[in-house]
Subunit: 236 residues, 2 copies
């Protein structure tokens, strides 16, 4: 997060002692260490569409998403490839936050978002002296990676209809906790996530609509027949 980034610093920050990440931090860190992080942390606001991280940027902060939604992606062969959707309380930049000098991925806000940023050197110092902390972090990062790898395998084994229903169910079940939601991704981005073309994403949407599986109104999607969607996701 360098100066030229569009993110805006926010003055209303929350109390670290009440942070939802306390499982990771509060439990494993002394009050003194926590205080030293807290007084230097800051929050940043990103509007929908703004870049949070660009591949190659120097890593200066240990950041997590406080609210909103973001996509993690890589540029490969002039094509964006979306690797994962980052939800609140997820770390930003995942890999190499501690071990690399620069980011390996780009991150962009899909909705208005707020990140909380801590000095990376301070966090590295805590790692040097507090292995409970390091271990917890290790555990969390491992699970994130594992999910990415396994999800990638599962998605690619499916046909187009299966991929689309998989991602729609993901939004409904894991992100918005509702059968009706606003798609945070364009059709093109969905295509970049699940490895198909924009046109075919739209075509499958239309098929699902004609089959009475979903209702579409612009970016608003409502899943009407979850059972059949589950079947298509699992066996399509």
């Amino acid at each position: 997060m360098t100066d030229k980034e569009p993110g805006v610093k926010e003055s209303m920050v929350c109390d670290c002692y009440k942070c939802e990440l306390k499982d990771l931090f509060y439990r494993n860190i002394t009050d003194i260490a926590l205080d030293s992080i807290c007084e230097r942390k800051f929050e940043t606001i990103f509007r929908k569409g703004e870049s949070i991280i660009s591949e190659g940027d120097e890593i200066l902060h240990f950041s997590y998403l406080k609210s909103g939604l973001a996509k993690i992606f890589r540029l490969s062969q002039n094509k964006e490839q979306i690797i994962a959707i980052t939800r609140p309380m997820d770390f930003i930049g995942i890999l190499g936050i501690l071990t690399s000098k620069t980011y390996n991925y780009s991150v962009m806000a899909l909705e208005d978002s707020v990140t909380c940023n801590m000095d990376i050197e301070l966090v590295r110092n805590i790692c040097q002296t507090n292995n409970n902390f390091t271990f917890s972090l290790f555990e969390k990062v491992s699970h994130i990676y594992d999910k990415i790898v396994i999800e990638g395998i599962k998605i690619r084994q499916k046909h187009l209809r299966g991929r689309v229903s998989y991602i729609l169910l993901m939004f409904a079940n894991e992100i918005y906790f509702s059968n009706k939601f606003e798609l945070p991704l364009t059709r093109k981005e969905i295509a970049e996530f699940i490895g198909m073309t924009t046109e075919n994403v739209i075509r499958v949407f239309s098929e699902f609509r004609k089959d009475g599986l979903i209702r579409i109104s612009g970016k608003t999607i409502e899943i009407l027949d979850k059972n059949r969607m589950d079947n298509i996701s699992n066996f399509g």
Copy 2:
């Protein structure tokens, strides 16, 4: 590694103080801790084709591949999906070695192989008390994961010819360090690695042979025109 596994314990084990993993262990661990691991470690021999780990097995040891070659794979929808090829000095089981109770992946020997196995509880104890060690391990595991994710993305963006040349170059450049080598995978396994059918792997092999790119004799492959192979791998 339970009793029913085919691996055979080996009595001739090497000196931990001269272990190639000393960067990870020796540098970060006291002699006493190292000694306590060493006297309880053991090595296991696996013949080509034998199972080293099965998905769901309880994790009892922290193991690495001392010699040989192995494939890491998952069973998904009755299909094997090869995730990575493990080379000497790579860890076995990667994810969750420290944090999970059971393995998330299966591992099978592709060549006669030897693993070195340490008591997982002992290693976990070291993690509890030695954060240099934990940090080094964290770093190594992160890089392994990163490579898997990026490699997966790259392979799937290519057409069939590009995928096949990519994997052949991988064997030549990163595993056997020679343009002529014995393929450790069957055609079917190659297909499972790069997401295509067995028939098409064979078809592309035949095309490459007719185009004078490679010479094939059973499992022996020789890359004749590396420049053109590089091009196909990068732009195919």
